[in-house]
Amino acid sequence: MTDLTCTRGGRKLFGSFELTLDAGRCAEIHGANGSGKSTLLRIAAGLFADYSGEVDAAPCHYLGHRNGISALLSPLENLKPFERLGPGSAQGALDRVGLHNECEVPSGQLSQGQQRRAGLARLLLGDRPLWLLDEPLTALDSDGRRLVRELVEAHCGQGGAVLCATHQTLGCSACEVRLGA
């Protein structure tokens, strides 16, 4: 993305923002609350269009504040539609994030952290080179945080790129982008 300017609510969030993310790299976006981290990710995902400048993003997975996991459906049912995207089975992805025993339970009965894990499992389905993660560590225990790190490292190792907005560091080798003064 080059020369990205976005104003929201009459307030300039960031101006002339530039970022190039090569394959195999992970970038962490840091910044104070309200500095535009989430908006930047949403722009990259194509979920927010009120900006000027150029955005050229590869096909991506977006994991926002909200997990995109319907409470009425089990994690497995939630992920089934994403199997169409490419290789990988929903069952395998859920096993990977440690939800092997919970994949048939309606998600509403799972804890916040488990729902977050289900959201992470979606990243493993379909071959999307770019991951956009918005605060992926929220609600996760130390085990979960390690899981995120492993997933990100594995993804980068396979030539994927990760753009991640967070207040904590992921703990893997990542370049740092700062938003807001």
């Binding site: 995902a45 409470a71 539609p81």
Partner: protein, 221 residues
């Protein structure tokens, strides 16, 4: 995509049955209230019954539309739908189809009972049901546009009614007059054709408008 979304929403519907049948309960309750309020003179109700039924169906439809996208909006599934769906209108159609099964098909099935409560002659029932079956798709489809626009807004329910009721008017007019004309012994083929035409038009245009509206709503969340 249509089938995938349909199956998904159908499952959700089955898991939250009690919530889903609320509009049907409303339809029944309101019709009962009318029947009781007119208690002394059921024959006066006969002439009004088609209008009452159709208005109640409209309102019940509004009730169930309000919830059409809300849950998905709140848990972030809607974002994923906007990002994933290919083509997006097929997924929207899948959602609307599930809503229609409830608001259209179920209400059509329920209509005879409501009609008998309201003292509508039995001979008119086929016309009433046919009218509902042909007209309710338009209600669901046009309604989905409004629901997509107002999802996530405070006071969305009243706003939804304000946006949709004027747009519902043609369906109401043709639906009621089809039933009335059948009751009067006049053929009502033209009205049925019109209802079907409006539904076909809504089927062609509304999913695209709904998709656009969903994008707008998702973008501001």
């Amino acid at each position: 995509m249509f089938a995938v979304q349909f199956r998904r929403d159908w499952l959700s519907l089955m898991r939250a049955k009690d919530e889903a049948i609320n509009p049907l309960v409303f339809l029944f309750l309101a019709a009962t209230l009318f029947a009781i309020a007119f208690g002394g003179e059921p024959q006066r109700l006969t002439g009004l019954a088609p209008a009452i039924i159709w208005v109640l169906v409209l309102l019940a439809n509004l009730l169930s539309l309000e919830a059409l996208f809300r849950r998905d909006f709140e848990d972030g599934t809607l974002e994923q739908l906007v990002l994933l769906a290919e083509p997006p209108f097929a997924a929207v159609l899948g959602k609307v189809a599930v809503q229609w099964c409830l608001s259209g098909v179920a209400m059509t099935v329920l209509a005879p009972m409501v009609a008998l409560l309201l003292n509508l002659p039995v001979g008119v029932l086929p016309a009433l049901m046919l009218g509902l079956l042909l007209g309710t798709p338009a209600l669901s489809l046009i309604g989905a546009v409004g629901a997509a626009l107002t999802v996530g807004l405070r006071g969305g329910g009243v706003l939804l009614a304000l946006l949709l009721l004027p747009l519902y008017l043609p369906v109401l007019v043709f639906g009621v007059s089809a039933t009335l004309d059948t009751m009067a012994g006049v053929g009502a083929a033209a009205q049925f054709y019109w209802l079907a035409a409006i539904s076909a038009m809504a089927l062609t245009l509304a999913p695209f408008a709904t998709t656009a509206a969903l994008r707008i709503s998702v973008e501001q969340s």
